[in-house]
Symmetry: C2
Subunit: 439 residues, 2 copies
């Protein structure tokens, strides 16, 4: 191949590609998330990355259209999925007769958004979603189960979070009760962005659309409420007689009673009536988890209750509740902030290094050890010294040195690289030593 | 939503979408494959699904172009990956300075080919690849390691295979030694398709391009050789003095000596000098695994040695050897032929069913059990009878019945659904009973 034919290797910008040692941790974390979902009786679903544009764009406004990867193949108008919810809706509508309800499914998969690349934003990212779908109706226990799983997932990941919980009906109903009619939506929009624009600007904007100062005060007071559920719900309950508002209070009380029965860690949840999660889609419980020591990370997990998953694909009613973790973004934040624990150079626990003409014996020993733990043989054509040095660089915890004497005696030199200790043992005892060290 | 606004839910044809219970098995099988790769010290890689067309199509001929999903986004000419090898080559070329060699990576991911949809062919499919890449040189132990992993992967999947192994240099060198010059490639092409067209047609076609009958006889004799490596290699060795041929014999002997040291199951491998795997790319060891009781499935795993992974992206030389399992196709074959073991309706091991007003207690019990096993609560608003019937239909092995008496006494009714036995036990003893039953 001539030099001029070489194509400079590069990947598309905005696409995460981890080093293998980081990918190992990524995969292990994903496995932990899946394990929590599975323990709660969720089943996996894996929908295709490609869908008909007619399906995928059925419910989206113009906004998503710009971001979506869309193209024609032959006569077919195709999109890459931009979330896992529309495919779930399509799946449920297609299989509504044969599914078992409540349908508890999780999906861990890549989704695509061709938005402008910027730091911390990815065009391909892994989402870890779990949803519970009812047929016609769905108990509020499902909302509590999702909230409990958020707690358990981050516990499993060893990441501290606070899950901020509300019920949209509380704030919506309260605003409705103020009687501003048509500008209700504008009020919500302003409140939804209060964390970005600040309280003073919000106050100004609300005044501009003729919300009375007294009402602005009570609105800001409500959305600033935080903390103990029982106390705050009891206080808040007095503030309006609006039916939607009271429904929200009732629902949140019920969900909270289930959370207590589930022994949720109370320090990990927080009532926060400012949580809205946009104006459409969600209809009851809403939540956004943040990391209390890294609030700048924003929402690391969010979700809520929706009345009708599949309205574009079915006349039937499928209420649901779900949670979603933008895993690629979360992982990137942890990586960039040196918050990943124990990233090893290699997953090999034992490397067998031949000394002299012992390669075949080493391969036979690998066969023995690899049944129990990740093990390889340094079979490359390099010096023993170079191989030992390399094992150190790779942070491999144990090395087995196999010379011709060792082959004859079947007693091997096991080196604990971390503690610079060396043992002379049979292969069975080497295995015991390593395994006991791993526990 | 009005009826006329409902969009008929459907997915693109040629895309596999499993039922959740099947997906559960699919995922469990993938996990088993990964475990084998990890035990051999391989590390995971996850390249993006999308690549620059310039990169992805660098080495492909016109043939793949028709199949590839290619589109523009803004000014960027983008392709969906059609295999995991070109992205690996791009990755290695980009990170050649920092990788540790031999670089052992596995990748389990979806690849895309927009070919005409037909039974058993998918436009999106999961590949499970493992490759070992050297820097400048790579020991033949790597070839043996890949062959050993094929054995272990299918052992882990509990699927019987025979891995047909050759070294391309043997057949290539033998043909070269016959001295037909320019028509060598045509001879190979005819031999490569012999399983499709049959021996007689191959004989005819070879005669047509003026291959002598004596040479046709010896060619057909060579590619029909099967069985014991030592014996056949010793026999075959005598048949030519061509250097390439003798190199192939030497390499295969060496690889076989490693396989024996690795205690490979000799019944699972077979020397088969007809294995070619196309005319390009592979340069030494080649293999194709088939299921002896289902030869009609074709190759379920294939791979081999290549001299230079990244020639289009780098002036350096990266020899490699790898294996690839077309997992979606394999799974589909197993599914269609009822060869999947134990497909459960649900992964739930214990379902807790409230009887009377005991929901909160049930949620608290779920919290206890779900720490140890997949467990859920039948919290929907349906009759106890309907829930019990449903647990049976879902094939859930254990049901815990929690009435008000049980709450008071903390002694619960555990029903073993399979054996229709019922026990009256504390929650701790229920857990013991279930766990002992699972082992």
């Amino acid at each position: 191949m001539n030099k001029q034919n070489i194509i400079k290797p590069r990947k598309l910008s905005g696409f995460m590609e981890l080093e293998p040692k980081e990918q190992l941790i990524f995969d292990q974390m994903i496995d932990k998330v899946k394990k929590v979902y599975l323990r709660h009786g969720f089943m996996p679903l894996d929908t295709p990355v490609l869908e008909l544009s007619e399906i995928l764009l059925a419910k989206s406004g113009g906004e998503i259209d710009k971001e979506v990867y869309r193209f024609n193949k032959g006569d077919t108008d195709i999109c890459m999925r931009y979330d896992l919810t529309v495919p779930l809706a399509r799946f449920v509508a297609m299989h509504s007769e044969t599914l078992h309800y409540p349908f508890k499914r999780y999906q861990v998969g890549k989704v695509y958004r061709g938005e402008r690349a910027q730091k911390g934003r990815f065009r391909e990212f892994v989402q870890c979603d779990a949803d519970i779908i009812g047929n016609g109706e769905l108990s509020l226990v499902a909302d509590a189960e999702c909230l409990k799983m958020v707690d358990e997932v981050f516990e499993a990941l060893n990441l501290e979070i606070v899950n901020q919980i509300s019920n949209r009906n509380i704030l919506f109903g309260f605003i409705e009760g103020l009687g501003y009619g048509e500008i209700e939506k504008q009020i919500l929009t302003i409140l939804d962005k209060i964390n970005k624009i600040g309280k003073d600007n919000a106050r100004e904007e609300l005044a501009k659309i003729a919300v009375k100062e007294k009402d602005i005060d009570s609105l800001l007071k409500i959305i600033e409420k935080r903390g103990n559920f029982d106390k705050i719900l009891a206080e808040t309950e007095q503030l309006s007689q609006n039916e939607t508002f009271l429904k929200g209070i009732r629902e949140l009380k019920e969900v909270y009673s289930y959370l207590k029965a589930m022994q949720i860690n109370e320090e990990k949840i927080e009532l926060n009536l400012s949580i809205i999660r946009g104006q459409d889609y969600y209809t009851g419980t809403v939540f956004e988890a943040v990391m209390p020591n890294h609030r700048e990370f924003g929402t690391v997990c969010g979700g809520g209750r929706y009345d009708n998953l599949a309205s574009y694909f079915s006349e039937k009613n499928f209420p649901g509740v779900g949670l979603s973790i933008g895993f690629t973004r979360l992982f990137d934040l942890l990586l960039q902030n040196n918050m990943l624990e124990n990233v090893p150079q290699s997953n090999v626990v034992l490397q067998i290094i031949p000394l002299g003409n012992t390669l075949l014996e080493c391969l036979s020993l690998q066969e023995y050890f690899a049944k129990h733990l990740p093990c390889d043989v340094a079979y490359e054509n390099r010096s023993f010294k170079a191989k030992m040095k390399d094992a150190g660089k790779q942070e491999i915890p144990f090395v087995l040195i196999v010379g011709e004497n060792e082959v004859a005696s079947k007693i091997y030199a096991l080196k604990d690289m971390k503690n610079s200790e060396q043992f002379t043992l049979s292969k069975e005892d080497c295995l015991k030593k390593i395994v006991s060290n791993l526990d």
